[in-house]
């Protein structure tokens, strides 16, 4: 009797949970466009970070489609086709640089979006799902970066991918029992053969141009739907005095911001080739028979985990990242009762860490290592 009761109440709970997150009565254009309002206060800039991330994603799709016309995903031709794009194809270099710069922009703003959303406590009921979707979107974005890094098939691409995949396998030795073999199997699945080679390139290519975009678009759809249905979170403790309408005011402001972003992106891509930050021996086509050239490192957005990985024992990093991952997913429930002051403090500390590790990670590493 009691069991029955609890199970029915559980089902009812689940149903009402879903109904609260996807309120059908609010899922119409009228509600999502005309009635939605955006609070105006000192943290309002945080509301724009998500749109900026999406802008860079749209640029990624467009430039990516352009690059697809010339890129060839085979070990013998990949590097040459990329060189062909930059050297011969009209505005090929510009488009490729835009793709690279905009990838960095997308990741940067996705992280900023996450941190501001955390500080503004935008994960409160009924926005838990929005938050979780966001975390998944961030993971997909990082995977985009990792898979895209391999495609030019130059020294740094292949060697950094080798290091990355090997790190995945190394997780295995810290896992108990049945899980012990899982990372190795995962790595072999993604790698496809004994060493990083044609199969790896093919798999990464498929992930990068088909699977990940589809997954990202799907999740983004739910994320945006949730944002529109529930409206912007309040963001600050005291009730904001002013509101502005989402349509047209906020949306049009967003558009002008995108205009500025486009100009900055265009100028950067036109003037600074993304690869000029790397030493040139790393840009030579990958040579399976030769030694690994010095200076292999991942893209800047992995520095925050890469340099600690170099400095600390592997299990510390593993434990820390496992913990952080769990905390990120469970944030809506862990920080349910936290005040915005506490959240802002944590967010500031995390941003400081990310900033220092990304900008000075290399110096810290050399300081401590040598």
């Amino acid at each position: 009797m009691t069991r029955d009761n609890s199970s029915t109440s559980k089902t009812a709970n689940t149903l009402s949970f879903i109904a609260d997150r996807f309120p059908l009565e609010k899922m119409n254009l009228e509600h999502m466009l005309a009635h939605k309002e955006v609070p105006v206060h000192k943290m309002s800039w945080g509301y724009y970070t998500g749109g900026m991330t999406m802008f860079f994603f749209m640029i990624q799709i467009i430039t990516g489609l352009f690059l697809l016309f010339y890129y060839q995903p085979t070990v013998s031709d990949a590097n040459l086709s990329v060189e062909y794009i930059t050297k011969y194809v009209s505005v090929g270099g510009l488009i490729r640089n835009m793709h690279a710069w905009s990838a960095s922009g997308m990741i940067l703003f996705a992280v900023v979006h996450l941190i501001t959303a955390f500080a503004m406590k935008s994960f409160e009921k009924p926005r838990e799902l929005t938050w979780i979707m966001g975390v998944l979107l961030l993971i997909i974005t990082f995977t985009f970066g990792f898979t895209g890094y391999l495609l030019p098939w130059n020294q740094i691409a292949v060697n950094a991918t080798k290091v990355g995949l090997q790190s995945v396998e190394d997780i295995g030795q810290y896992l108990p029992g049945m899980l012990h073999e899982v990372p190795r199997i995962l790595r072999e699945t993604f790698q496809g053969e004994a060493s990083v080679g044609q199969s790896t390139l093919g798999r990464f290519y498929a992930l990068h141009v088909v699977l990940l975009p589809l997954a990202l678009a799907g999740l983004l759809g739910i994320h945006l739907l949730q944002v529109q249905v529930h409206g912007m979170s309040q963001g600050v403790d005291e009730k904001p005095k002013k509101q502005e309408r989402f349509f047209p005011v906020f949306l049009f402001k967003d558009l002008t911001l995108w205009g500025f972003l486009f100009f900055i992106l265009f100028t950067l891509s036109l003037c600074i080739p993304f690869e000029s930050f790397l030493p040139f021996p790393l840009l030579a086509p990958y040579d399976a028979m030769g030694a690994t050239p010095p200076g292999i490192k991942p893209e800047w957005y992995f520095f925050f985990v890469y340099y600690p990985l170099e400095l600390l024992p592997f299990w510390v990093i593993l434990l820390a990242s496992g913990l952080i991952g769990a905390v990120l997913i469970l944030t809506p429930w862990i920080f349910k009762g936290s005040s915005r002051k506490t959240l802002t403090f944590i967010a500031t500390a995390v941003s400081l860490y990310l900033l220092i590790m990304t900008l000075f990670g290399e110096q810290i590493y050399h300081l401590l290592k040598h």
Partner: protein, 438 residues
């Protein structure tokens, strides 16, 4: 026909300009109320919109382009030297002249069909309309049959106009032009001549402030329409912003697309390489394919053979290792020990799988990725290296040139067999499938 030319191309222009200036001045001063377009909007507005709007958009742009070419021929020519721009200008010119023709036709039709409008139509209105129609038709004809007029006019009509302006008339540049062009020029002077006598005079009252000012709404003073009045004002005010915004958007977008369009088109069209570039590209592509195929051959070789040649014993030394690929397709290094025997060690770093460097300094080789030093004798990494496990030694077999096995080492344990000095010179180092573990 020099006399005719002289009259139409020298006398007429001066006459027309003088009459136009004096006449217009006189008319504006003495009869200011007629200094207008004599709008008939209240009489009939639908036909007017279809006629007047396209006509004015088209003709103002076209005349502006004529004026730019006349005022700054150098800049104009420099702009048009880009083929894309020239194509664009020519196409736009033709399109706009067709727009003008359409507008004129609509206006003419309206003059003929609307009873109300006919009652205010003078003979002069019809004359002006017909001359304009003829003039635009001539222009369109020239644009089609004598293309690139935007460019050749810089060397013909522009110097002619400047010679008139500087009172040193010079027909040498225009007298051999086709009749259609000459007629186009003459009609232009005729139109200027007609300005003070017709509604054309309204061009001196160009209502520039119309663009930005609020819409003028004619509000009827009747009860029925009273409620709608404030609404109409609001709409008018909003529309003013829409017009500004629309113009800005059109300008911004066209600026962007002018810059982008030809480049994007050429992106998809694909590059056209010179023969030299093509050869270079082919050579590189072929060499990359060969590298891949040699890699595949190595794989096949390892699949099929029990022994794989590393190199001759004589070429090995203790300072610089020789790279080779082992049975698992992983890189490995071959050195020579102090006893003169081969030393084969895996070159795949046990930390994260980078390929270890070939130079042995003090018997140690370096993985550049995360700075791990490995002793080649034991394979052990330095204590402070990120790598913790040793690089494994590989088994090997020494054979003479006829394939007789001399000495072998399985990777662990002791070396089997001995090597005489005579055999040393010709001995070759092999790796064996039998030594492969797993």
């Amino acid at each position: 026909m020099p006399a005719l030319d002289n009259f139409f191309l020298i006398a007429l222009p001066y006459l027309a300009v003088v009459i136009c200036l004096v006449g217009s001045y006189y008319r504006i001063k003495t009869r200011p109320m007629t200094y207008s377009a004599l709008s008939s909007q209240f009489l009939e507005s639908k036909g007017l919109m279809w006629g007047s709007l396209p006509w004015h958009i088209g003709i103002i742009t076209i005349i502006a382009a004529h004026f730019i070419a006349f005022l700054v021929p150098g800049l104009w020519q420099a702009l048009l030297s880009n083929q894309t721009v020239l194509l664009f200008v020519e196409a736009a010119g033709l399109g706009l002249s067709l727009l003008c023709l359409f507008g004129l036709a609509a206006l003419l039709l309206r003059r003929f069909t609307s009873e109300k409008v006919q009652s205010v139509t003078s003979q002069m209105d019809l004359v002006v309309l017909l001359v304009l129609l003829l003039q635009v038709a001539l222009g369109a004809h020239i644009a089609v049959s004598l293309s690139w007029g935007a460019l050749w006019s810089v060397g013909t009509t522009v110097p002619y106009l400047w010679s008139l302006l500087s009172f040193t008339p010079d027909l040498s540049m225009v007298q051999d032009l086709p009749l259609a062009v000459k007629a186009h020029i003459v009609l232009a002077w005729v139109l200027i001549l007609l300005v003070p006598f017709s509604r054309l005079i309204h061009m001196f009252a160009v209502p520039l402030e119309y663009i930005g000012r609020p819409w003028q709404n004619v509000v009827w003073v009747s009860d029925r329409r009273k409620e709608a009045a404030p609404q109409a004002f609001v709409e008018g005010e909003a529309r003013r912003y829409f017009v500004k915004g629309g113009l800005a958007a059109v300008f911004g977008l066209s600026l962007l697309s002018v810059g982008v369009f030809d480049k994007i088109f050429r992106f998809f069209f694909g590059p056209r390489l010179t023969a030299h570039q093509e050869t270079e590209l082919m050579t590189t592509r072929l060499s990359r394919l060969e590298a891949t195929s040699s890699q595949r051959k190595l794989e096949l070789e390892r699949q099929e053979n029990d022994y794989i040649l590393v190199g001759s014993l004589a070429e090995l030394n203790s300072e610089r290792g020789k790279y080779f690929i082992d049975y698992t397709m992983m890189p490995a290094l071959a050195f020579k020990t102090a006893e003169g025997l081969p030393l084969l060690i895996s070159a795949k770093c046990t930390h994260l799988g980078c390929t270890v460097g070939a130079d042995a300094v003090d018997g140690k080789i370096l993985c550049p990725c995360h700075i791990s030093y490995f002793s080649i004798d034991t394979g052990m990494p330095n204590a402070d290296s990120p790598a913790k496990t040793p690089l494994p030694h590989l088994g090997w077999v020494l054979m003479d040139t006829r394939g007789n096995q001399l000495v072998s080492y399985s990777g662990k344990g002791a070396v089997k067999g001995t090597l005489s000095e005579a055999q040393r010179a010709s001995a070759r180092v092999y790796i064996a499938k039998a030594h492969q573990i797993g």
